[in-house]
Symmetry: C4
Subunit: 217 residues, 4 copies
């Protein structure tokens, strides 16, 4: 199944961005990628150190989380990733972390207001909060999908838990996770000493439009 060989490498490498930006501690956090044209995904194994996350440690499951390829048990968040892939066909990558500033907003159940041009650019408006949900069934996946479906944001703050982000590719989902923590932190700082102004909706729309279409190569 050589379609997954390249993707294992990509997903393994993307996990390094989680440690580089200090979005994760110990073995928490995970990245997955949909295998194009297959009902499969590549995901991190459960409870394995980031130092040992080479391509061979990655596992492949079907879109109900059943192990298809690999020797390790998949991430305990596999069911949530799988639910997202089943219900959001345009999503090619999913990331979950407990990055500290984003998780602090999640713990308070407070959306991050759109007070920075970077939030308008990447998230298209305020970053929404998803419900409290226990692990073990489809509750987390359903909470993610319902919240993201009502928003332009690729990130959702799951209450008392932490953020999930999505993207057209695993790399785009990791980018969203990195920028989420960045803006969660900056708005936290801003709010500690005052109340920043929310950017007007028409300006948010123009910024979002431009960034989605013009930025990058």
């Amino acid at each position: 199944m050589s379609a997954t060989a390249e993707l294992r490498r990509t997903v393994a490498e993307l996990h390094r961005e989680l440690t580089r930006y200090e979005l994760v501690s110990w073995t928490a956090g995970n990245v997955s990628a949909r295998v194009p044209d297959h009902e499969l995904m590549v995901i991190k194994p459960s409870g394995v150190s980031y130092d040992e996350l080479g391509p061979h440690a990655m596992v492949v499951t079907d879109l109900h989380g059943t192990l298809v390829e690999g020797e390790l048990a998949p991430s305990s968040d596999t069911a949530a990733h799988a639910y997202v892939y089943r219900h959001m066909p345009h999503v090619g990558g999913v990331v979950h972390t407990h990055s500290p500033y984003a998780t602090a907003w999640a713990a308070r159940g407070e959306p991050i207001p759109c007070v920075l041009t970077m939030i308008a650019d990447e998230f298209g408006g305020e970053i929404p909060v998803g419900p409290f949900a226990l692990i073990g069934d489809d509750s987390i996946g359903r909470g993610i999908v319902e919240t993201l479906s009502a928003s332009r944001s690729p990130a959702v703050l799951m209450r008392n838990h932490g953020p999930f982000t999505v993207g057209a590719t695993a790399r785009a989902a990791v980018k969203a996770a990195v920028l989420l923590e960045d803006v969660a932190r900056t708005v936290h700082f801003a709010r500690q000493l005052g109340q920043p102004d929310v950017i007007e909706q028409q300006h948010v729309d123009r910024l979002y439009e431009r960034y989605q279409n013009v930025y990058g190569q």
Copy 2:
């Protein structure tokens, strides 16, 4: 005494996690491990730079802190570690740091409330505060043991001092120290701008049960 050779290496390597996660400054902080089937422990020497903490720098003491093997004086916290091993037979590793967020809760004498799924998973409820105790006799060890015995938490916040964590192995105790600082920080951030909701006890119980039995390989 070859039973300790492997353990010296393990304990030496685990100290690198303390610097990697910035839980310690200068020479503060220490990891120890019980030597299985012996009344002995391996522990860091006192006041030695983290750059010089190879396996040979580690020292072996009995469970009253008397030096048995090694050329350096043991950590000044050896008595506290030894007390824990004498009174908690299931504990195989002990870690002490002054990690900044956990120590801030300790300075206020305030337990960390269970407002995150990660706290329910790893600590099984709120993270308790232990008494103020002076170094030099069994006061610190007794404070740790009494506080941990009344809780599911592997971590205790010693008042005006800093955290101690325990585990079945030294690695598990280090994991608890890393995740403690992570949640101490996130809840600190959450509390700076509001009051996060405490997770219901029945949900805490289900999360704790699952994580202790299902997570990892």
Copy 3:
């Protein structure tokens, strides 16, 4: 066009200071340098990873942002940099980041008061706020130039956006960006627990005078 070869290398290397001091996330942020004696500038390409920013990735544009040399599209902030070079002939380098503490002051639209000798030394007084401006025309460049022209500060906090800094060279502009985040952070901390005293104007003037003329080699 060998005048730009050396400058490409310098600008590429200066981008490493942005990551070293954690002033940028993912591909955000950019450094540019005026090409001496030419109506040209060297600038970072748009949306390229910091890991891939070698000298050959840099692009050269004229002072209206039109690509002259290089294979990649220039930074989406090129128009703002170009506006600064057209209107501030003594400026040889421009830097833009979303460094978190400086951006938090920008989000509140609050200047950083001159409460530290380092602020007097490097910025010559309080660090001013520029207007909210949308990307896409000269609004950002005009806001930067108007604000800096009314101040001794080489840094401006663009409202709801982030800082821009300038200098006689690109290196000086990077230094201003690094020290800006440093003082933005320290004054943030100071203000969280009280109200630091502003340094008297006569002392600010003496410190600024001395630092600009005596410091360094």
Copy 4:
């Protein structure tokens, strides 16, 4: 003058601790060491990047700051270091930084209360504030010496400026600078969410006594 060769190397290496613990930005901050049995000191040159601070970059001055050895201009803080060596004969090393948490207390002119055992151990009580003083004459040196002479603390928080620390050796002064920032940060965090209890004087005395005489090898 081979007495200084070894000391240049030591002082150069100690500067790496300032960057390792993020106590300094750009070229700010400096370490010096008294040359034993000579009226000389080794100090960092002014405005040189930390990447270029090898032994050969260090300069030697007399205890009035006049250059004796080396090709670069000495640190602009040389007069303050020299004043300390002239007036505190037991001091063998001096460190100056603008480390952010310590400088925040300095900006407010507020001493750091003794609410942690680590503060009692290393600083022997609250960490005092020194006067606001301009660079250019003996004002800073005099402020340091007068404040430290009235305290057991090896650290002083110079108002609106930043910390200076001293020690029997340059290494001890660097240790004090590292632990100062550590406790300045932890007490900052503790104070953000409440009011930690100050440790009783008799306990502070016992902790200080023990740490100064028993800790280390």
